[in-house]
Symmetry: C2
Subunit: 152 residues, 2 copies
Amino acid sequence: MLSKKTKYAIKALVVLGKNYGKAPMQISRISQEEQIPKKFLEQILLYLRNAGLLYSKKGAGGGYNLSKDPKEIFLVQVMRITDGPIAMVPCVSLNFYHKCIECKDEVTCGIRDVYTDVRDATLKILSETSIQNIIDRENSLIQTSSETSNNL
Amino acid sequence: MLSKKTKYAIKALVVLGKNYGKAPMQISRISQEEQIPKKFLEQILLYLRNAGLLYSKKGAGGGYNLSKDPKEIFLVQVMRITDGPIAMVPCVSLNFYHKCIECKDEVTCGIRDVYTDVRDATLKILSETSIQNIIDRENSLIQTSSETSNNL
DNA sequence: AAAATATCTACTAATTCTATATACTTTATT
DNA sequence: AATAAAGTATATAGAATTAGTAGATATTTT
């Protein structure tokens, strides 16, 4: 399951994605709009910033912006920053590898292959999905659902 | 990440799979062979039993057996028993659905589709992989690695 | 009856996740 | 220069989950 941290991070990035190219957005505003505890959001934005996804500016009129086009920020990056590994077992993780403590012998382990496959399948989807994709998807769903309610 | 509970469950099922068709195996033996804390393993085996994966017999000469062929026990079943949902967001879970508390409107949520895809891809692999597959895989890896070391 | 085994419930300990607090730095504006 | 408006950084508290333990009970075999 995704942590709240990751969910909040995605929400914040989507909001910032909609704001891309405009003046920076303040933490407090994002916090209000998305109902995210402000102090918690501060931390999350810092992680994202330190990982290079966000640009920040201090002082009056400061705030946050995406540091690149929302088309170029992918879910897999966000999840790795906030939740760490994508893989279900550490011994199969690309970015956070370590041995399973319960494991006698990694070489003859019968489940590594399966979880490598799961990792790859997951990775494929998450690394193809950008913040822009999510924004587009939202917009098309909003449209569809408002059309539907007009037809009632 | 898989919980220890799930890892221990898989290990126990693999051991019991190798023992399939033979006399029941005691908790204490599985615990020793797989280095799993006995009392914790008791709990785990109970979950698996109550979910119908294991048959148990009390008293002298009792113990545990798989309740069906290891070819017919799939990772997805085990994981659902021990770790719950496969999906990364509850609103997309097939067996453990509930709304995301952070979510304003499920209908216009931009990430549900992505995580539905992830779920389906994961599910496909995990529901095709049986305990027998894992045993076979282990055996072939053991063979391969011993051949390699003979060649040194 | 005694011994060997699983069952069940409750509890404790450890870890991780969520959230808050406090002090500090930078920038813009007046 | 002073002040206010932001973000930065680190520490800590509280909540939830995960891991593991304890103890009493129920069955079965011998």
